[in-house]
Symmetry: C2
């Protein structure tokens, strides 16, 4: 079995030309300068707005990246899976919030075990069954924090009726092994609304929806301490005008094709692409294209073809060609990259692309400076 | 870190009701009876036709499954990645064939190292650079087998000119550290042509294309010993009328939504679905649907929504709802499955779905009889 650093570990710290020649591909690559700029920029924006950020670890599934986010001032990290929570808790990262309901007893038991290892651990619930299952596993000596999950028009998890939110919050509040902390109200479906104006109009409707919940909870003496929501696409509006005590962005670290098409903030995106998939030309047998070793098992297929970042001539386009390959179609008259040349792709969608890989290859000035395991991928 | 058998290992051999209650989800599941029937059926079909099969391991990336295929009579296994070849060679499986060109020196070195561990190891090439790079790493005392890769209209890897195939074959034949074994001629793009008649017409054109190569190679004294090609969708025609000495099917073990729409053989498919993703209902807060914990990180997104296999009422449909969730939309008047209920999905496409997971959960009669690691996933 491969070690967790994989087949490129011997290239760490070596000369850029050796890395260019020898890097095993496809390889998920982080441009460290762009990554650090994104990390710092979000910290600045949140700080200037007097807000808080609990970044979503589903984007990277890596404890090393999570730790950097905490060091940059994040109050904690959001987790989409039990495995993410387990891995980040094992690394001792504080303020973990499991952002979608878990109801299977064996999985709730794992969450409670993770909560023993890391401070200020929270989960969301949207059912009384969820509350009771959690209460069966949690201990009075170390209560698990709970947020009531509110639907913000996404139509996925989350309550639609404020009275139900009160009933849940009250029950959580009664149980000594649970600690009622507030609400989560996430509008994932509005993150990619293309113009800022349209997005503002749509999320403002949901702020009104949330206001009904907050009023009803307040009137019942259950005003939330934490109101968690928002993401990369809405962060500007959330920080300036939103009802949240904290935001949950994930993609801002990496960016992708999908966010590249969104007007994220006035004057352009504060975040730059830092994540690419490095592939190599492995066949030049066809006249109008070259074939690279990155296909649907290296790049997510949920938002059309990948964009070309580096290595291909202007006007070239990427096309999926099966599990492990893609074609770079050449514009007329362009020189084809030679066999073995590296071509870098921008992912259509960063989260599921990172999930296909086992490690990030961290590049700075052409040098492979580190390899970060994506140790919370999978189930 | 999780062991390779994952969070469900304690359920192996336990009572079906406990498995139903406790199985951590999403979990990739193999129905062992259907799987074994598919395995046996392909062996029968190939045997009756007097053919050979070298199944494609890209579908499962598992040495335990590969071993079962060898035990069922396969002459070897095809590999799509260096990692697949490494893992299967480490397990001592014979007859490995790397089905797409590898040209990076570090990766070619890994292939040659794998070839030292397993008998009858072969790779394909479609460039002189590929041949020379391989020759630089291979040893005269243990020659690496080589197939010349021929394009069959797929437009990916593979030569389009018979004269080039002769040049490559001749050069391979000259080099004592390489062994010229024949050709690969794969038409992946024709596997899913819906009707048998259309598929037959399209592949017959490619058989003519291949005949030109075979003639030219024969005239040059380089007649191939091995002619490898074909897949699950074309296996019936390949075995009955095709030019191949062996076929390379992968999906026949599992089947999926995509192959479910294809007329694979006269009288219906000889293979049944054996692979599903088991998910659980985690939210019932919305009136017209339930939410399950399987989204785009548990089920491939390259062929539309998943089909519902078990657990949901007739007429219900699956819709992706982000990385980790899906909605099961209920037909009017249907009873909604309760919180915690297991819903099984048929993958839109089996290969990239298996690649999202770390292990197969092998079920027989409701019992979890084994867990098989997908140890060759990733890079």
């Amino acid at each position: 079995m491969m070690t967790s650093l994989g087949p490129n570990r011997h290239l760490i710290g070596r000369a850029p030309d050796l890395v260019a020649r020898e890097l095993a591909t496809p390889a998920l690559v982080i441009d460290l300068d762009a990554f650090q700029a994104n990390l710092a920029k979000m910290a600045d924006l949140v700080g200037s707005a007097g807000g808080k950020v609990r970044p979503h670890a589903k984007a990277h599934k890596s404890s090393l990246i999570g730790r950097r986010q905490i060091e940059a001032g994040a109050v904690g990290l959001c987790c989409a899976t039990v495995r993410e929570a387990e891995v980040l808790a094992e690394a001792g990262l504080p303020g973990l919030l499991v952002t979608t309901p878990v109801v299977t007893p064996s999985m709730v038991a794992r969450l409670v075990a993770a909560a023993e290892k890391a401070d200020d651990f929270m989960v969301v619930v949207d059912s009384l069954t969820g509350v009771e299952t959690l209460a069966e596993h949690a201990r009075v000596s170390r209560p698990v924090g709970v947020l009531v999950d509110i639907d913000m028009g996404l139509g996925r998890d989350g309550l639609v009726d404020p009275a139900e939110a009160v009933a849940l919050a009250r029950r959580i509040d009664e149980l000594p092994q649970l600690a009622y902390r507030g609400v989560q109200a996430y509008y994932g479906h509005l993150q990619h609304v293309k113009t800022l104006a349209d997005r503002h109009a749509k999320i403002a409707e949901q702020w009104e929806n949330l206001a009904r919940f907050l009023e009803t909870l307040g009137a019942a003496g259950l005003a939330p301490e934490i109101i968690s929501g928002g993401g990369t696409g809405t962060h500007h509006l959330d920080l300036a005008h939103g009802p949240f005590t904290e935001i949950q962005p994930g993609s801002y670290l990496f960016m992708d094709k999908q966010y590249g098409e969104v007007e994220i903030a006035p004057g352009g995106s504060p975040f730059a692409t830092s994540l690419t998939v490095a592939a190599r030309v492995v066949s030049i047998a066809q006249p109008d294209r070259v074939i690279i070793d990155a296909g649907s098992k290296a790049v997510s297929t949920d938002y059309g073809p990948a964009l070309l970042a580096k290595g291909a001539p202007d006007g070239a386009t990427y096309q999926f060609m099966g599990d492990e390959h893609g074609a770079i179609r050449m514009p007329e008259g362009a020189n084809r990259p030679p066999l073995g040349a590296i071509i870098e792709l921008v992912a259509p969608h960063c989260d599921p692309t990172a999930n296909l890989h086992d490690r990030f290859h961290v590049i700075q000035g052409g040098r492979l400076v580190d390899i970060w395991p994506i140790e919370a991928r999978g189930y």
